[in-house]
């Protein structure tokens, strides 16, 4: 029996892809702090493709392709469509996308369709469209249409994007990628998924997290507004009354 297993194993070994590479990677910042002067931030993703720990190989054989997917916190989003009724334009149809990423960017070393098969890309949520394909009570055709429009709108606001020259190889195995996170990037936990492709297959992947956080005063304000809204509202009114009074005193109206 044991011999039979060994025989089967021996037959299979040459067929299985040899996972001899691993990815060593990092991000330039692990937290992005939103201060009052926050106007976006630049991030660098870098890494190198090295032989796997148990591998006997000393060097890795390319060529490799690298794709970095940056995913923001999820939100429920609605896409709405206006139609012309009774002479005016109004929102008549809407589709809600539950747990939709608030931020999604793909950086790649060359054109995605040249890197891998579209199905493989979709399965791994590497294409923006993959996020709008989740089953939706609105029905398939509508989900498809509104999903595409939602992605277009998100792209216009700089929240979704694909940069197919976003990853640069410094050597055969060392890459770096730069991303400018816009000021409209919502705060919360972010995930950066890095995929290494070789001959159209994923041979290594790694995910790392970073956070976009309001700090100091912005954090204090945002927290008070949601956690003690009554006090926050009263504070707004006191501030308004004081400013108005001060204005009157200063200018002696």
């Amino acid at each position: 029996m044991k011999r039979l297993w060994l025989f089967i194993l021996a037959l299979l070994l040459p067929v299985l892809p040899v996972q001899a590479e691993r990815l060593v990677s990092g991000i330039s910042n692990d937290t992005i702090q939103i201060t009052s002067s926050f106007d976006g931030e630049r991030l660098t993703f870098y890494g190198t493709i090295a032989p796997d720990a148990g591998s006997t190989e000393r060097v890795v054989q390319g060529p490799f392709d690298v794709v970095v997917v940056i995913l923001g916190p999820t939100q429920n989003r609605v896409a709405r469509e206006m139609t012309h009724n009774f002479g005016i334009w109004l929102n008549t149809e809407q589709v809600e996308f539950k747990r939709f990423p608030s931020y999604f960017h793909v950086l790649s070393s060359k054109r995605l369709i040249e890197i891998a098969d579209i199905n493989l890309l979709n399965e791994n949520y590497i294409l923006p469209e993959a996020h709008a394909m989740a089953p939706n009570p609105a029905g398939f055709m509508k989900t498809l249409e509104f999903g595409r429009e939602l992605i277009r709108l998100m792209s216009q606001d700089g929240l979704f994007g694909v940069q197919e020259n976003g990853v640069q190889f410094m050597s055969d195995t060392f890459y770096s990628a730069q991303l400018t996170l816009p000021s409209s990037a919502p705060p919360g936990p972010y995930i950066a998924q890095t995929y290494v492709f070789k001959n159209g297959q994923i041979i290594a992947r790694k995910s790392e997290g970073f956070a976009v956080r309001k700090i100091d005063f912005e954090r204090f304000l945002a927290q008070s507004a949601t956690q003690s809204p009554l006090l926050y509202g009263i504070a707004c009114v006191v501030l308004a009354l004081f400013t108005g009074w001060l204005g009157g005193v200063l200018f002696r109206r």
Binding site: F38, S102, W245, G247
Partner: protein, 305 residues
């Protein structure tokens, strides 16, 4: 210089905010109105989410009306008794307005209702004001003495029951129209993010015949109290009051208002009213066009709760 607004979650140029606050403050000082009807649309058209714009301008209107209300109070230009009725009914109306606001926002119809509200309200008030001021200007040119107010003219409003004596306004009238005016302005003001001074003043003058020396003061006192209550309600209900945005607008607004008031001394009442009417109509037309013209993008998106 960019400043990050923590509730709107976007960064805006600080000088732009203080600038439009100042410009609107100047106009509000010039015409003696709160300026909410200009500020809310300006913010919406410059990309601030509608809900944040409405709620934050509510806070700015409080600041803009405070100094005026205080100076009228010192001069004894406020009928506190009448203001009390208007404030209480106004706050009641604002409850309805803020609740409607939340429902509309969840259904995606907030922008539509605000646009329609601005078109109807501003269009109506603007047309009336324009008519009135043109008539006054024409009469003046012919050399007829214009009287602002006919004190002994009574209408059906003065025949309603539950009459109350308002000493300072020298009125003995039913509380029904007073409460209705308060309710209406509270509802519309909290929904559209305007103080409603430009509706309140004509209503007090033409419907209730409140004498000129207490009209502005009473209206301002009502605006301050009602909008203060509305700000708190918006903060609790929709959590869309951006204190930083409101503060930038307040600073610009209170400064601008002083220069506006000084400039207003050089213009005559009818001319001022005529100009204000044109401004009000311009805003109404701008909103009207946004409803009628084919939008550049029929799709829009929002974060659902």
């Amino acid at each position: 210089m960019q400043i990050y607004l923590p509730i709107a979650e976007l960064s805006v140029n600080l000088f732009f905010l203080v600038g439009i606050g100042g410009a609107v403050g100047f106009l509000s000082g010039l015409f003696g109105v709160g300026g909410g009807f200009l500020l809310t649309p300006l913010l919406i058209f410059s990309g601030v989410p509608t809900s944040v714009a409405v709620a934050s301008v509510t806070g700015q209107v409080v600041a803009a009306s405070t100094s005026g209300a205080l100076s009228h109070y010192r001069r004894g230009g406020i009928d506190l008794h009448l203001a009390m009725y208007l404030i209480l009914s106004g706050i009641l109306g604002a409850f309805g307005g803020v609740a409607t606001f939340s429902i509309l926002r969840a259904n995606g119809q907030l922008d539509l209702v605000i646009a329609v509200g601005f078109v109807v309200l501003l269009g109506f008030v603007g047309t009336l004001m324009l008519q009135e001021s043109v008539r006054a200007l024409l009469k003046q040119r012919k050399g007829v003495v214009v009287r602002d107010r006919q004190p002994n003219q009574h209408s059906w409003i003065h025949g309603l029951p539950w009459r109350v004596r308002f000493k300072k306004s020298r009125l003995y009238i039913s509380v029904l129209p007073v409460l209705l005016i308060g309710l209406f302005i509270g509802f519309v003001g909290s929904l559209l993010g305007i103080g409603g001074g430009f509706v309140m003043v004509p209503a007090l003058v033409y419907l209730l015949r409140v004498p000129g020396n207490v009209v502005i003061g009473t209206s301002l006192a009502q605006v301050v109290a009602m909008m203060a209550a509305t700000t708190i309600m918006h903060a609790v209900q929709s959590q869309s009051v951006d204190i930083l945005l409101a503060f930038c607008l307040m600073v610009g607004g209170t400064a601008g208002a002083q220069f506006g008031a000084a400039a207003g001394q050089h213009l005559r009442g009818e001319q001022l009213r005529g100009l204000l009417a044109l401004l009000v109509l311009a805003v109404a037309i701008r909103f009207g066009l946004s409803l009628v013209l084919t939008p550049s993008d029929v799709f829009s998106m929002a974060v659902a709760r």
